[in-house]
C-alpha cells in the first residue's frame, strides 16, 4: 500500500507536519499519524486499486481497510475513535453487500451505501485536485506582483463648504435687517432733550447782547440735517419755558420768520435806559 501523495503533485505544496507520513513501503507503515481521518485513509487505500474511483470496488476497499485496522490493533497501537467507527461501518457495509437485504424498503441497500461512500471519496479527491489547481495558479505576491510602490490616491482634505448665492444674500439681508433696530437706537440718542436745550439756551443767552436769531445759538448742535428738527423743536419748547419764567424774551416779525431771543435781565436794563 503505497502512499500516493505525489500522484497529484501536492506534496510539495504544503508543509509536511512533523511526523507526517512520507512515502514508504506500505507494509511498514502501520500508524495512521499521517492520515487526516478515516476518509483520507480510505482514499489512500482506494488509490492502490489503481482504477477510476468511479469504478472502484467498495467491497474490496472495505476489506482492505478492515485488515489494515486489524493489523494496527494486532500491534496494540492506539487508534482514534473515528477510525474504529469507520471500521464498524465498513464491516456493516460489507455484510450488507454480501448478504441479501432482509427488508429492501426500510433502509438504504448495501449498494446505495457503497455508492454514497464512493461519492464521498470522489468528492474528497476532487476537492484535493481543486486545491492543487488553485494553489498552483499564479498567485499575487508569489508569482505575480502588484505595484510595489502604490501611489495612493492622494486624499486632499478640502473643506468643501456648501453655500448658495441665495444663502449668502439671505444671510446678508436678514442680518442687516436685524441690525436696523440698533440703527434706530443710535438715532434716538441724537434727539435733543428739553433739559439739554434749556441748559444750552440758558448758557448762550447770558453771553449775548442783543436780539439774536435762535438759529445762531443752535448752529453748533445742528451737526446733521436730521438733527435740525429735534434741536429746533426742543429749543423752542425750552425757550417758551424760559420766557414764562421771565428769563428771556422772544420776538418774531412774521409767521415762519426767524425767531429772535434776548436776555430778559439785560433787556430790562436797556428798557430802563430806553424808558
Amino acid at each position: 500500500m503505497a502512499a500516493t501523495r505525489d500522484k497529484d503533485g501536492q506534496s510539495e505544496l504544503w508543509e509536511m507536519a512533523p511526523g507526517e507520513r512520507k512515502d514508504g513501503d506500505a507494509a511498514l507503515v502501520v500508524d495512521v499519524d499521517g492520515f487526516e481521518g478515516p476518509l483520507d485513509l480510505l482514499l489512500s487505500l482506494a488509490r492502490t486499486q489503481k482504477v477510476d474511483l468511479a469504478k472502484i470496488s467498495i467491497l474490496a476497499l472495505a476489506e482492505q481497510y478492515l485488515s489494515y485496522i486489524e493489523e494496527l490493533r494486532r500491534l496494540r497501537l492506539e487508534l482514534a475513535a473515528d477510525y474504529l467507527v469507520m471500521a464498524a461501518w465498513l464491516a456493516y457495509l460489507k455484510s450488507r453487500l454480501l448478504l441479501p437485504s432482509p427488508s429492501p424498503d426500510e433502509e438504504p441497500s448495501g449498494e446505495e451505501m457503497a455508492a454514497a461512500l464512493a461519492f464521498r471519496l470522489r468528492r474528497l479527491e476532487a476537492m484535493r485536485e481543486a486545491a492543487a489547481k488553485l494553489v498552483n495558479r499564479d498567485r499575487l505576491g508569489r508569482e505575480v506582483f502588484a505595484r510595489g510602490m502604490p501611489e495612493a490616491v492622494e486624499i486632499v482634505q478640502r473643506s468643501d463648504y456648501a453655500a448658495t448665492l441665495y444663502d449668502l444674500l439671505m444671510a446678508y439681508a436678514s442680518q442687516r435687517q436685524r441690525q436696523m433696530v440698533s440703527v434706530v437706537h443710535v438715532r434716538r440718542r441724537q434727539v435733543w432733550s428739553l433739559a439739554e436745550a434749556r441748559e444750552v439756551l440758558t448758557r448762550m443767552v447770558g453771553s449775548i447782547a442783543d436780539w439774536t436769531p435762535v438759529d445762531v445759538f443752535l448752529s453748533p448742535w445742528i451737526l446733521t440735517p436730521e438733527m435740525r428738527a429735534t434741536v429746533v423743536a426742543s429749543s423752542f419748547s425750552a425757550s417758551l419755558e424760559l420766557v414764562r419764567e421771565g428769563r428771556v424774551e422772544l420776538r418774531q416779525t412774521a409767521p415762519f420768520a426767524s425767531l429772535y431771543m434776548r436776555d430778559r435781565d439785560r433787556d430790562g436794563a436797556e428798557t430802563k435806559n430806553d424808558g
Binding site: 481521518g37 483520507d40 473515528d82 488553485l134 498567485r139 499575487l140 505576491g141 508569482e143 505575480v144 506582483f145
Partner: protein, 224 residues
C-alpha cells in the same frame, strides 16, 4: 503590432489624455479598480471599456500586464517572469494541507458551514484552520444557515479572487467538470440540482444574516 501603439500616439488629444489617465490610475493603484471608479475620473461620456481594452492590448506581451480580477482591473507583473521576481517577496508561509483543502471546499461549495466542510473532508477541522484563512483575508463569515443550531456559513472574499487571479468565482479551475459530476452537491447521492459556488454578498434563502456578536467575535480576522 505597431498599429495598436499608434492608437495611443495618433489618436486625438482627448482620447490620448483619457488613455493616459486610465493608465496612470491603474498603474498607481495596488488594488484592482472597477470600471466605475475609473470612469469617475474621466470626462463624461468616455468609453471606459474601450480605453481599458486598449491598455490591456498595449501591455500584452510586456513585463507588466493588465488583468481582470474580481471584476476589476489591475496591473500585475507578467506571470512568466515569476521566477525572476520571486526573490523579492519575503518568505511566504506555506498553507497547511488542511487549510488549503478547507479553502478549496469553501471556494467551491460556498456558502458552506463548518459541519459541511468536515463532512467533505471526513475529519474535524480545527479552529486554527479557519482562523488562518480568515487572517489571510480569503474567507469570511457570510451568515447563518437557517437550520437547527444556526451554524455560521463561510464564503470567499474579493481578496481571494485577487490573490488567486480569478476574474470571478465562476472561473475556479475545473468548476464545470465538478459541477457535471455532481461533486459540488452536498447531498449523497447527488440529486438533480447542481449547486454552484456563489460568493455574492446576497444571502441565500437558507441563510440568515450574521448576529452582531459574530462580527464582534470575528474581530480583526474579518477582512472583508
Amino acid at each position: 503590432m505597431v498599429d495598436r501603439d499608434n492608437l495611443t500616439l495618433l489618436a486625438p488629444e482627448g482620447h490620448r489624455m483619457a488613455l493616459r489617465i486610465v493608465e496612470a490610475m491603474l498603474f498607481a493603484s495596488a488594488h484592482p479598480l472597477g470600471a466605475k471608479e475609473i470612469a469617475a475620473r474621466l470626462p463624461e461620456g468616455s468609453d471606459v471599456d474601450a480605453l481599458i481594452r486598449e491598455i490591456e492590448h498595449l501591455y500584452s506581451g510586456r513585463g507588466v500586464n493588465l488583468v481582470k480580477v474580481a471584476g476589476k482591473y489591475m496591473f500585475r507583473t507578467a506571470s512568466d517572469l515569476a521566477f525572476l521576481l520571486q526573490r523579492d517577496s519575503g518568505e511566504q508561509k506555506k498553507l497547511s494541507r488542511a487549510a488549503l483543502e478547507t479553502l478549496a471546499i469553501i471556494a467551491y461549495h460556498q456558502p458552506v458551514t463548518r459541519a459541511e466542510i468536515e463532512e467533505i473532508r471526513g475529519v474535524s477541522i480545527s479552529k486554527g484552520t479557519l482562523d488562518v484563512l480568515m487572517e489571510a483575508g480569503w474567507i469570511k463569515m457570510r451568515g447563518r444557515r437557517r437550520t437547527p443550531g444556526r451554524p455560521v456559513t463561510y464564503g470567499t472574499t474579493e481578496n481571494f479572487l485577487v490573490h488567486f487571479g480569478l476574474e470571478m468565482i465562476g472561473d475556479l479551475p475545473g468548476l464545470e467538470e465538478l459541477k457535471g459530476a455532481g461533486l459540488l452537491d452536498g447531498r449523497i447521492p447527488p440529486g438533480f440540482s447542481v449547486p454552484e459556488p456563489r460568493d455574492g454578498d446576497a444571502l441565500r434563502d437558507d441563510e440568515d444574516p450574521l448576529d452582531p456578536d459574530d462580527l464582534l467575535a470575528a474581530g480583526l480576522s474579518e477582512h472583508d
